[in-house]
Symmetry: none
Subunit: 159 residues, 2 copies
Amino acid sequence: MTGKKVKLAFIINDSARKATYNRRKKGLLKKVKELSTLCGIEACAIVYSPYEHQPEVWPSPSGVQRVFAKFNNIPESEKSKKMVNQEAFLKHRILKSVEQVKNLRRENRKLEITLLMFHCLSVGKILHNNMSSIDLNDLAWLIDQNLKEIGRRIETLEN
Amino acid sequence: MTGKKVKLAFIINDSARKATYNRRKKGLLKKVKELSTLCGIEACAIVYSPYEHQPEVWPSPSGVQRVFAKFNNIPESEKSKKMVNQEAFLKHRILKSVEQVKNLRRENRKLEITLLMFHCLSVGKILHNNMSSIDLNDLAWLIDQNLKEIGRRIETLEN
DNA sequence: TGTGCTATATATAATGT
DNA sequence: TACATTATATATAGCAC
């Protein structure tokens, strides 16, 4: 009755997982068949599961063999090239992530420091003491600048 | 505007066929991925087309090799096993990095918000207390304390 | 050629039998 | 457990740009 939006993660409940497996496997194989028919191309799908001894495939096992043979017959050079490319791609992603982590760490550090200073200033109740030598207007201006900068940062983070 | 019911037969019109191919190929690969994720099983799809030199596959070429090897009952060669392992390793690293980035972002957001609150508190205090004067010596002492604490924190963060 | 849009068609999650 | 139902979610056909 629901068709509820489902989280894209491993379904822990055994019976629910199996039900989903059966439904989706059926749908998937149908889709492969349709794509192949509509566009006149070769395609295959292999699905393994603990529920069946043999893998589910589309089209027939021999058809799968044929399609896979084609895939597997890609000259070694091209295949390895593609793999190298994929590996390079993955490594690049890692590098990017690591860079991101570094930047966020730096950012965190700065924020912590500023926060710490503010915290100590507040806790120390420094504001209750004599301030004859500081211009209140200067202080207000400084704080105003900070507020603006923080506003910008939060906007950036939220996008 | 239509989503018209389509006849399950080869699409004669070239451009329409190609458009359908692109749409459905994308959908199909997504479905394979979802089935694999949701049910924790191995699955793969290979799609050939005259539009692309390389077949479209899910998961990666080495993943396809692995699933097909199972289907074909061919023991994996040491080489391909190694490749799969390396790929899994790289993907795991990416996953970890992405997780790290997420956590740091969350951390950043919290810090920013807390910082903002402190700023506001400070402004409030300044505006509500009569602070025409402050003792500079006290201020200097407090800041000195803060700097020491900050130094300790930085050391912690950098380790 | 590809992208975005929107009405429809299709897939499917939860439930009942 | 597998199958039917049905409310929702998702996929996608045709069109506009």
